[in-house]
């Protein structure tokens, strides 16, 4: 087992260099660079732009820029943002924490709700309940997150116009005057702001996830060994949860690797629409401005987490599925 883990870690090295170089190259392949925006400013001279370009190292060949960046990475320095003129990690970290306020609860909800819903759908296939849930799931799948967020904002405003009561905040993460609140009130305030974004993010994920869960369960339930289990007189509960469910979740365990980078990569456009100070708006800005090291640095964090996550999920698989052995 130890040998296996060591071997896997060794494999990660070329993957890491390959992936970072590819990311770096693709960002650089986009036309222009961070300073192109400045070129249309009538007040800035071309000499100034050329000077800044050489200060930022953007005038050097790509491989040289990449090697320099790698050198810094190996010293645990993700790079320096052009736009913020500050180390990438300092800027990214508080935003990632903000995003986690939405992402962590919604990931938990996802598992807590989607798995039972999927199982229910499989056990009561084509029942009224299953049809209703399927119907809702398709709606959830069809509505994009950002649009659902806009609908919620509209509803909140309409309720406010009619009753004068703000049920949930329209946008943002904290109320005005937040700094003066005592610690408990601060937590409650953030929780109050987080309700709608969490619902929005979870809804569409539940839809997809529960459909896959249902499909997996249905497939496993039609296997011979389930019939055998029933034939030898096991309680239905044992059949479903011990024999069927454990096999049905294997593909999910294999995908757990994706959850780790998912935790830091933000809640998506909901953050933009609802003015949540998470990582998505920051990353979108950086992409637009071609803030090279910001994007590359953030991709690197995600990459490392993905590699660690994949390793973890492979190890977890041996625990869930006794048929899998790494020797």
């Amino acid at each position: 087992m130890t040998a296996y883990i060591l071997r896997r870690i060794l494999y990660l090295v070329p993957t890491f260099f390959g992936a970072t170089f590819l990311a770096f190259l693709i960002i650089q392949l986009a036309p222009g660079d961070y300073l192109t925006q400045l070129e249309l400013d009538p007040k800035v001279t071309p000499e100034t732009i050329a000077r800044l370009r050489s200060q930022f190292g953007l005038d050097r060949p790509i491989h040289e820029q990449y090697l320099l960046w790698m050198h810094n990475l190996l010293h645990l320095n993700l790079g320096y943002s052009f736009a913020y003129q500050a180390p990438v990690l300092d800027i990214v970290w508080p935003r990632v924490v903000n995003s986690m306020v939405i992402v962590v609860p919604s990931t938990l909800f996802l598992f807590l709700v989607a798995i039972p819903v999927g199982i229910y759908g499989a056990l009561r296939q084509y029942s009224l309940g299953d049809r209703v849930i399927s119907f809702l799931a398709y709606i959830g799948l069809a509505i994009p997150n950002f649009f659902l967020a806009l609908i919620f904002m509209y509803l909140i405003l309409q309720v406010y116009f009619r009753t004068g009561v703000m049920v949930f905040p329209v946008s943002g993460m904290t109320s005005s005057g937040f700094e003066q609140f005592d610690p408990w009130k601060k937590i409650l305030d953030i929780a109050w702001h987080a309700v709608i974004p969490i619902i929005v993010v979870t809804t569409s994920d539940i839809a997809g996830f529960s459909r896959v869960m249902r499909g997996q369960m249905l497939e496993v339930l039609s296997q011979d060994y389930i019939r055998t289990a029933r034939a030898k007189g096991l309680a239905e509960r044992v059949v479903v949860y011990k024999h069927a469910l454990r096999n049905a979740v294997i593909p999910f365990v294999a995908n757990i690797g994706g959850i780790l980078p998912g935790l830091i990569s933000g809640a998506g456009l909901v953050e933009v629409v609802m003015a949540w100070p998470g990582i998505t708006p920051l990353l979108l800005d950086s992409l637009q401005q071609q803030d090279l090291y910001m994007v590359a640095g953030f991709l690197t964090i995600g990459l490392v987490l993905l590699m660690v996550g994949n390793l973890l999920s492979d190890l977890l698989l041996t625990w869930v599925d006794p048929r899998i052995r790494y020797e």
Binding site: T36, L40, S176, P277
Partner: protein
């Protein structure tokens, strides 16, 4: 500045009051009288993008934190009612006979927020750091005139002299830069140089360490979320209203970062933010509706003024590889015909929902003092366009209905703009349709912004585009012509980047630009500006289209806005220092 004499008279008046060492904010800058004003309270605003630094020397974006803290401070400022430069942190100035030196007497008794006095050293240090190449300040270029440096000299603690390499219409604009505390930045700069300066005042800096001479201090900042500013009491010691009350009236400014304009609108409609400048017809009508139905107690000034930006179509004069197109694009008649096919009213109606202003010259319509009303306008007129094209030899049409000349060459060009800019894409489609009516084939493609800029700013005898729709912002009240745009060697001389003037009128414009830039008399400068617009109108180096208007809105809990006459995209809806909370 209309007349130096007039300014000197007002200087004399201010010197008379200078014993009090205060600057009195004129009553005419606000609709509110000092007696109705209430002190205290918070104004709540929203901005689209997050802040990047607190450091005044490396900040680059519009509306950055240092500029918020500083507000209007500088030796001189403009009076929004007249546009004239008036002394502000200076109590007076004198101009040397050769007009190359301006000596400012600095107001005494002004203090930084940490209690240290504001003196000539602060300006000198700020200028030193801005002009250090290694710092990379965005203001670097503003301290040079045609590549020659403008220098500052300290005469004594309260006297400072600006020395210009040549006479400059924008001399006061340069002198109006924001000073920063020398006792904070100086020691670091002496010890660690530019690298030390760059590391200072990042977003992680503790708010209490940020020193300001302006109306505001940082109270707190939450990344991506909210910046809270509080009143700087030291500013109120020398800034008073006419009744002698210290300014600003407000205790706090709370600025939320709301990236999505729909969310901004929702917050404004819910009464959670106080000021907004809606940009689309949809947003405007939602605000109007909410006001009419009594759901929101607010004011909106629709079409207060045009915005200070331009939108135009430029043809490429440097196409050595395609002599047919090159001679076409260099032809006056062709460009005039193209101006005739631009349906500016349709652009305003369709693209800006009826809330826009047509443009015919490089001077933004909002700069009313500068716009030459007599400039010829080649307005929408398809018959005239067809006639001009016929004069160029395009009389016959081919099978598809497009004009061809005697050699059978079709009248056709490619037009592009930056993808994702819905308004420019709509303008382009309107032009394609109208061109088709007179028999000109326009092939429109939307391309990536950076690629577009690359094509536009490429130089040499053969450049890779036919026509581009793009816009520019940033043109001064002192001299509204672009230093990079008008001169033939300018980086933004977009139609012709061969590096030399090709048309005698370009040479003429180039010369007039330099003359105007060094002319100190405002009236004479306006005359030169008028002349330039006439030449531009004949030459049509670019074809101006139309621009959107400015529609400020505010919640009626705020008082102290500008009188209607000065609400515009140049001066904004209010002086924040004179703004107060009514209820």
């Amino acid at each position: 500045m209309r007349k130096i004499v007039a300014v000197l008279v007002s200087v004399a008046a201010l010197v008379g009051m200078a014993s009090a060492q205060t600057f009195v904010w004129p009553q005419k800058w606000t609709v509110a009288k000092p007696s109705e004003v209430k002190r205290g309270g918070t104004i709540r605003e929203a901005v689209i993008s997050d802040y990047r630094t607190f450091n005044p020397f490396i900040t680059a974006e519009a509306g950055n934190v240092p500029s918020l803290l500083a507000g209007p401070i500088g030796l001189v400022r403009r009076d929004p009612t007249t546009g004239d430069w008036i002394p502000y942190m200076a109590e007076s100035w004198s101009i040397s006979p050769n007009k190359l030196e301006i000596t400012f007497k600095i107001r005494r008794g002004m203090k930084w927020s940490d209690g240290k006095p504001i003196t000539a050293d602060d300006w000198i240090m700020t200028w030193r750091i801005h002009t250090d190449k290694a710092v990379g300040s965005n203001s670097y270029d503003s301290f040079f005139l045609d590549g020659k440096p403008i220098t500052l000299r300290k005469i004594d603690d309260y006297t400072i002299r600006f020395i210009y390499p040549k006479t400059d219409a924008e001399a006061f604009s340069v002198a109006g830069f924001v000073p920063w505390p020398a006792h904070i930045f100086g020691p670091v700069y002496q010890k660690e140089g530019a690298e030390g300066i760059k590391k200072m005042w990042t977003l992680n800096e503790k708010p209490e360490n940020i020193v300001s001479g302006g109306p505001w201090l940082i109270e707190s900042y939450r990344p991506g979320e909210r910046l809270v500013l509080k009143r700087n009491p030291a500013f109120g010691e020398w800034n008073k209203d006419e009744a002698g009350n210290p300014l600003p009236y407000l205790d706090r400014r709370e600025i939320r970062i709301v990236k999505d304009t729909n969310a901004q609108l929702a917050e404004f409609l819910a009464g959670n933010i106080d000021v907004m400048a809606p940009a689309t017809v949809d947003h405007i009508s939602q605000i109007r509706q909410a006001i009419q139905q009594g759901r929101l107690d607010a004011t909106i000034k629709v079409n207060a003024s045009p915005v200070a930006s331009s939108q135009f179509m430029v043809f490429n004069w440097n196409k050595a590889s395609d002599p047919f197109k090159q001679s076409l694009f260099r032809s006056d008649k062709f460009r005039r015909a193209m101006s005739h096919i631009v349906n500016r009213q349709a652009v305003i109606d369709i693209v800006y929902g009826g809330l826009g202003t047509p443009m015919y010259s490089s001077v933004y319509p909002v700069l009313t003092q500068w716009v030459n009303p007599k400039v010829p306008k080649y307005e929408y007129n398809l018959q005239e366009a067809a006639k001009l094209l016929a004069e160029l030899g395009f009389t016959k049409k081919d099978k598809e209905g497009f004009l061809v000349d005697s050699k059978g060459r079709r009248l056709e060009f490619n037009l592009s703009t930056n993808a994702g800019n819905a308004q420019r894409e709509q303008i382009a489609k309107l032009i394609v349709d109208e061109a088709k009516k007179v028999g000109v084939k326009v092939n429109f493609t939307a391309i990536d912004f950076n690629t577009l800029v690359g094509q536009l700013l490429s130089s040499g005898p053969d450049r890779p585009f036919d026509a581009i729709i793009i816009g520019l912002t940033g043109g001064g009240l002192d001299w509204p012509f672009g230093a990079n745009v008008v001169p033939c060697k300018g980086n933004l001389h977009m139609w012709n980047k061969s590096g030399q003037c090709l048309d005698p009128r370009e040479t003429q414009l180039d010369a007039l630009y330099s003359r105007g830039r060094s002319e100190l008399d405002f009236k004479k400068r306006v005359e030169i500006g008028y002349r330039m617009q006439e030449i531009e109108a004949q030459l049509l180096p670019v074809i101006y289209i139309a621009g959107p208007n400015y529609h400020p809105a505010w919640n009626n809990r705020l008082g102290g806005e500008h009188p209607d006459a000065i609400i515009s995209s140049i001066w904004g809806q209010r002086q924040l220092e004179l703004t107060f909370i009514k209820k």
